[in-house]
Amino acid sequence: MHFINTEGMDEFITLNHGSGGRLTGELIREMFATRFGMNEPFTDSAIANIKGREMAFTTDSYVIEPIFFPGGNIGKLAVCGTVNDLAVAGAIPLYLTASFIIEEGFPVKDLITIVESMAQEAKNAGVKIVAGDTKVVEKGKCDKIFITTTGAGVIRDGCSHIGTAVKVKPGDRLIINGPVGNHSIAVMGARKQLSFTSQVVSDCASLNHLINRVLDTRCEVHFMRDLTRGGLATVLNELSAMTGMGVEVEEDKIPVDEPVKGLCEMMGFDPLYLANEGKVLIVVPPEECDKVMAAIRSEPSGEKAEVIGIITGNKNKMVIVKTLTGGTRILDMHSGIQLPRIC
């Protein structure tokens, strides 16, 4: 417990606190949530009942480096990320706000590209950007451009449980809509600091249409969460912690594109911990699995969907991976070393 009081407190914030793993979780819980009076479970969007209507609200900030990468840019990312946070809560995303902190000297040409991407992505997703703010700071006081968004949507009938995982039961199946790790690899490649070039493109995409397809089937959906920093492993661990149940996944069922695999082998990364920006974990009862998979696979962002695992009856709150040799390993919450400024 590092942030409750000054005893035993970490003295400085390090990059690890921002990488979406265990340390980020601790920071959120102990620094912010306790002081703001926020209660668990912490979900991608907050749900508020406003005059009988359940509304979802979310906020996010984007500090990605570099701001242009294969498959997108910081603006597209900002819209997709916010839309996805609302969609996985079972909401229809409606309105976004966008605040910009821009460094003095930032090229107007680049700003136009970013803003036009945002407008295009908002159109694709069917959301409106309705408010915002702009600040310019002196050169060197912010790295090119940071974007902060908020999003608001209306929870679909009967969907308010989805983000909380309260309906998750042993035997439920875990589905992922496609290969993991592409966003991290695309961004790493774009940084050009490392001695490799890759053809991998970020999976940055708005998932609300895919999620609507799934919810339109009227099948029971017990949980959804989008994978961002900290990757699949983090979401699986969060799910396990929220439900108190064990999670088991099969390594060879988890889709990973070959170039991502190769890079991970080379660099010693585990693709299960890499960031994604167009992936969602969906948990459904076994009898709904086939129908949900069909709905997911009918969308472009779900063509390579796979059933990757199961909720077990174990009360051990652990995520176990069955390896390709038939052995097992524990998939822990990552301490958070991987990559700074990945989203």
Binding site: T14, L23, G262, T325, G326, R329, S335
Partner: protein, 363 residues
Amino acid sequence: MKYIDEYRDIRLIRALEKTIRREAIGSYIFMEVCGGHTAAIHRFGIPSLLPPNVTLLSGPGCPVCVTPVSTIDRTIELASQKDVIITSFGDLIRVPGSVSSLEKEKAHGADVRIVFSALEALEIARASKGKKVIFLGIGFETTAPGTAAAIIKAKESGIRNFFVLSAHKIMPPAMEAIICDGTEINGFICPGHVSTITGSKGFRFISEKYNLGCVISGFEPVDIMMSVLMLIKQVNNHKFLTEIQYSRAVTVEGNLKAQKIMDEVFTLASNEWRGLGTIERSGLKINDKYSAHDAEKVFSLKGLSENLRENTSCLCGEVLRGRKRPTDCRLFAGVCTPDNPVGACMVSAEGACNAFYKYRRNG
């Protein structure tokens, strides 16, 4: 992926499992001395595929783990000097020194950068003329030739602001120390990539001098299982040889060009190994011809006392010698975790404690 997928073929793994079960008529203890093997063995769950009478021990094969605290302290001292950029492989950033770590120093403003190659560090030096770029050279014979090549290139290209703090070590003396230490071992799974450089000739002493089994192994599950089988057969037949399982990359002579480059730049010196103490002629020191690039010679280092605050409950030393398992350590998975590592064995992905924590914590 070619040369990887074939060696992960589940049919071959199953067949090796069956054959090992059949051949393992006695009791066998084999030690691996390569961080890559430690990680692979645990990642692929090899121990769960072996019968209970075959035990695999982890030795001092993780270059990060055997790096003494004093090396980290010296690097931190260098980091605090003016206009210095420290470049290092990623794993070392989190290793605790006596008082701090490179990661913590970076958070306090030191210019510490992760690189994947000595050549990258050299490029940084080329591009940062006003700075002194120091590369922390950690690794065994697999990595040392690359550092040597970078030093030679720096000299030839006139890149005067590139320096290396060499903490490179060689494997055979450490293996000899383990054998002489009396740890009960029937044979070694020998380091596959070190051997691509040294050749199997570098490990002949294991079978010839000490009558222990020796098989140079690749890193995929099929390679490792096959090597275990070959070792079992050596023990069963009382015929101890230095065999090459990893024949697609290892020869008897090794990489003569790389050996020559190492000899050009380095000389052997006695060196401190965490857990093993000082071992004669086990470290690679930059020789006088290249002293202009030797961080030890160029920078004056005050140095802190050795092992100032090495936690006495930390069993890294015993774990590295194969005397204790990570689970024997009081601190394991409690105070000492990958988030909050006390000893180096927990920091590095090649360390026994880290591998155990990730893959075997619950049996």
